[in-house]
């Protein structure tokens, strides 16, 4: 009995921590949605692009770890700059769906560029944190939890707190919230829309880089990261598109539910149900609570 409970705890905690990985991807998405009401479908591609550039800098040019990270972050700022100038600004008054499709196109461009520049083979990313159970926890609590999962959880927590403080207490955060509420009104009282957009896309790029590092350390830096990042979409639906805590809670729910289902129900169906379980979960959420757990109520004016 105790052993079963311990096993369940292990599955649950593992799932929750793995869920923070989804949260990290979802976070970049929320950031952009919060500030510009744009569904950025290319967030997954940004994750892939940024971490591939990071690994590329390290392995192909032998640039040290920290410098490569800074370079990759700067590269993401440039990507943000170009996106603002060449994609978002011309589509300022276009409908939501049009912008969404343009970001699908942007995702394709980023994936293609990354592969043209750095090749298609799987690359290893070593962060110096092993993907194996932490001995201390394994000995004292009898739980096998990967060090990488714990790091991802910590990183996510730090980023959430940082972003929360930024949005709540700084002048920039106030500007961001104003733009999200009504871009036209915000620009008419002198909030520089261009700078705000640039800032948000750069921040989302850096978040993507961090998320990419975590994913890359676990699964290798490869194209499959883009598909994994698609799972951030159900996370967002559950948490709500405009809520930073929602992205985290959503990620935790998806991570925990998919692991528990996989371990306890999966064997009856031949396994691998985690491929679709999050999406089906998202459908149920959509039917009962379309705005998500923490999202703002969707009001459509006729």
């Amino acid at each position: 009995m105790v052993e079963e409970l311990l096993f369940f705890m292990e599955v649950l905690v593992g799932g929750l921590l793995a869920g923070t990985m989804y949260s990290l991807v979802a976070l970049g998405f929320v950031l952009i949605f919060k500030a510009s009401a744009t569904f950025n479908f290319s967030q997954g591609a940004m994750v892939f692009f940024s971490v591939l550039a990071f690994v590329g800098f390290m392995q192909d040019f032998n640039i040290p770890f920290v410098l490569a990270f800074i370079l990759a972050a700067l590269l993401m700022v440039v990507v943000g700059l170009c996106t603002e100038r060449f994609v978002l600004r011309p589509l300022m008054n276009a409908s939501e769906d049009t912008v969404l499709m343009a970001t699908i196109g942007l995702g394709y461009v980023l994936e293609g560029l990354a592969q043209a520049a750095w090749g298609v083979e799987v690359r290893r990313l070593d962060l110096g944190i092993g993907d194996f159970p932490v001995p201390w926890i394994a000995d004292n609590l009898k739980l096998f939890i990967s060090a990488l999962d714990i790091t991802a959880g910590l990183v996510a927590a730090i980023m959430i707190i940082g972003l929360f403080l930024l949005f709540k207490y700084t002048k920039i955060g106030l500007g961001l919230r104003a733009v999200a509420d009504d871009a036209g009104a915000a620009s008419s009282i002198g909030i520089p829309l261009k700078h705000i957009m640039l800032l948000v896309w750069s921040a989302a790029g850096v978040v993507a880089l961090v998320a990419g590092c975590m994913w890359g350390a676990r699964a290798g830096v490869q194209f499959a990261l883009v598909d994994l990042a698609l799972k951030a979409l159900p996370v967002l639906i559950i948490g709500g598109f405009s809520s930073i805590p929602g992205a985290i809670i959503g990620g935790l729910i998806i991570g925990a539910v998919e692991k528990v289902l996989e371990v306890y129900i999966g064997p009856f169906f031949g396994g691998a149900i985690e491929g679709w379980a999050p999406y089906v979960l998202a459908i149920f959420f959509l039917l009962y609570r379309p705005e998500g757990l923490f999202g703002e109520k969707i009001i459509r004016r006729v």
């Binding site: 499709m101 995702g107 994936e111 293609g112």
Partner: protein, 354 residues
């Protein structure tokens, strides 16, 4: 519902005649290399058919769906099992039934569209994509317990005659595509299509005009999935000649989405233009790579460049012409017409003066 058959104008009939002459007489006489049939014409027809399915739900009804390949897989594997287990049905019968099976999936996964829209719906339809592929992969029955993962498709036999040469398969695809395209045009121009477009343009207004949202949306998803299912069956039996779930992954769904959007949302001919572009462009790019640069550029780089160009085009079209290539073509025609008519007007008015 009463089927509405449109009265066709003279222009429509001429267009149809030209297309038929081109595809039935001109292409088979002038194109003799097998490559063109097996690698370009057959997949073009199949994917254009799937794109029409995507058009119905996305271009006409305005529902953002991203699961075309899932329905194609449902159609393809339904076809395989029907031919295997119910041989009396025949090829055409199996094709129709497999389309209907795909349509059942379409109804099931289209139901969330009653509640949500935009990217929310996209996520809901992604569920269908992943679920259908997983289901086929995990339950051996669908693959007739074949352990290799790739099953060879049965030969196409219609009325006791085998259709195995590329040319014969081309004609099978052509016949099915022609019938379904005409049907789609009929629906799009008739009351069915009017309802779809009313829902697309403003669903609340449509509902208050007496258009049933439930019926219209579910109908659009069902018909769309039917088209995708038939297209998937043809794709597997005429083009791939094998069945494997991996062939219908999310990448194919994205490809069809691109064909639909670049071709032109809300047009049937856009489906054909878009499919032709997405299929032919990589061929062109490879030819340039081989002949101009003599293979100096790696094939993986070429495919990456292709991806960049598709994505870039998507952005450019969204900014400058959200209605895609069909609209571009329409604009060019319009320009020519005004040019010709203005020049003839000028001549006639000049003629009057003198």
């Amino acid at each position: 519902m009463k089927p509405v058959f449109m009265t066709y104008t003279k222009k429509d009939l001429i267009n149809l005649a030209v297309c038929m002459v081109l595809s039935v007489l001109v292409i088979p006489t002038f194109i003799t290399t097998e490559y063109w049939y097996t690698s370009i014409l057959i997949p073009w027809l199949c994917l254009a058919l799937a794109t029409i399915g995507q058009q119905i739900v996305m271009g006409y009804t305005g529902q953002l769906a991203l699961g075309a390949a899932g329905f194609m897989a449902a159609g393809a594997f339904a076809m395989f099992n029907l031919i295997l287990r119910v041989p009396d049905l025949g090829f055409v019968g199996s094709l129709i039934v497999s389309g209907l099976i795909a349509a059942a999936f379409g109804i099931l996964f289209g139901l969330p569209s009653l509640k949500v829209r935009g990217i929310y719906l996209m996520v809901a339809t992604l569920a269908s994509q992943f679920f259908i592929i997983w289901m086929i992969d995990k339950f051996g029955w669908f693959k007739n317990y074949d352990s290799s993962g790739i099953i060879t498709a049965q030969d196409i036999v219609i009325l006791g005659k085998p259709f195995t040469t590329p040319l014969a398969m081309y004609f099978v695809c052509l016949a099915v595509t022609t019938v379904l395209t005409l049907l789609a045009m009929n629906m799009a121009r008739g009351s069915t299509g009017r309802n779809w477009m009313a829902v697309r343009d403003m669903d609340i207004a449509a509902e208050s005009m007496g258009v049933s949202l439930l019926r219209t949306k579910v109908q659009a998803f069902a018909i769309s999935a039917f088209y995708c299912g038939v297209a998937g069956a043809l794709f597997a039996f005429c083009y791939l000649k094998s069945l494997e779930p991996v062939a219908f992954d999310i990448k194919l769904s994205f490809k069809i989405l691109f064909m639909c959007i670049l071709g032109g949302l809300g047009t049937i001919n856009g489906a054909f233009i878009g499919a032709a572009f997405i299929l032919l462009f990589p061929v062109l790019l490879n030819a340039i790579g081989n002949n101009v640069f003599h293979g100096a550029i790696d094939a993986t780089i070429i495919s990456s460049i292709e991806q960049v160009i598709f994505g870039g085009l998507m952005i450019i079209f969204m900014i400058y012409e959200p209605l895609g290539m069909a609209k571009l073509w329409e604009n060019i025609k319009q320009k020519w017409k005004t040019k010709i008519s203005s020049s003839t007007n000028l001549k006639s008015s000049l003629g009057k003066k003198t």
